[in-house]
Amino acid sequence: MSEHVVSPKIYVSVFLALMFFTILTVVAAYFDLGRANVLIALVIACIKATLVVLFFMHVRWSSTLTKVFVVAGLFWLVIMVALTLTDYLTRPSSPILRGP
């Protein structure tokens, strides 16, 4: 069987990285950085999610077909968000455009 056995060392390293980023996201939230706050929170969450997908979910060692599936899922999510926003952001009455 060509299965890859991931060593506990890697799991623990990923776990520690996830803990670090959790603390980082809490600390970052305490600073009022305006619109940058949400950006930082999302970047950190995306890094954490990527770590979980690649290592805990073994995608790093999975077949190319599995990788294509994962990327396809994210691709459709991006389509949904991007196309919805092109509508909302271009409405003259959009409260998003008016700002806070």
Binding site: M19, V26, A29, V53, F56, M57, M80, I96, P100
Partner: protein, 225 residues
């Protein structure tokens, strides 16, 4: 295992050539399901994006009424449960039944802990009348629009509620896997149920990784507490 015959292993379904092919098919099936889950949660994240960008101040004030310490505690609990889940897969690959069962039990324990904390949070919302339905809703905070804050709590309860439902289902799945493991159903050659259930568990963890900062940390800089 490339030359294993369909009759050589009790875990091999008759329509697969070998265990490796079966495992790949099962894993792809779970990923396909998880992609539908991404779209399912994605719709709610979309609602969140639109309403938060429309009412950023009200959302920050609403968020400051959630206890980020409990949310953060639950984040850590779920990450630890993901580690024990990953270790369960490792021990199933190694054929170590004792530690496989231990890791599965720990995963369930942390999952249950998460739900208990979630219950404590929901109860606090009930007591303070911050449930956005009829008489359960009472909002007195000045400088904020009750309707907009209500929208935050609608999204909060919808997303964390559906997430909690996934946790309950995950606990059920883990109970079945534990039972199968206890009955010696898994070997180093055949353990894909452990691995595929793990994929689901990790996915539910990922959803929370996004929910925590997006729901709990919006109002941290307001120093409400």
């Amino acid at each position: 295992m490339a030359d294993s015959h369909p009759t050589t292993h009790y875990g091999l379904a008759h329509h697969f050539d070998n265990l490796e092919q079966q495992k790949e098919a099962g894993s792809l099936g779970m990923w396909t399901f998880l992609i539908t889950e991404i779209m399912f949660f994605g719709g709610m994240f979309m609602a969140y994006i639109l309403y938060r960008s429309s009412y950023p101040q009200d959302f920050a004030i609403a968020s400051s009424h959630l206890d980020w310490k409990l949310g953060g505690f639950n984040t850590i609990v779920l990450i630890v449960s993901s580690l024990t889940m990953a270790m369960a897969v490792y021990f199933s690959q190694k054929g170590n039944k004792k530690w496989l069962l231990t890791c599965l039990a720990l995963t369930m324990l942390f999952g249950a802990t998460f739900l208990v904390v979630k219950g404590v949070e929901y109860h606090e919302k009930y007591v303070t009348h911050h449930i956005p339905i009829r008489d359960f809703w009472h909002w007195t905070e000045p400088n904020s629009d009750s309707g907009h804050v209500q929208m935050f709590y609608w999204i909060y309860f919808a997303m964390t509620g559906v997430h909690a439902l996934h946790m309950v289902i995950g606990l059920g799945i883990m109970a079945v896997i534990f039972w199968m493991a206890a009955r010696n159903r898994f070997t180093p050659e055949y353990h894909s149920p452990v691995e595929i259930s793990g994929l689901y568990w990790h996915f539910v963890d990922i959803v929370w990784i996004f929910l925590f900062p997006l729901l709990y940390l919006l109002g941290a800089h307001l120093t409400h507490h």
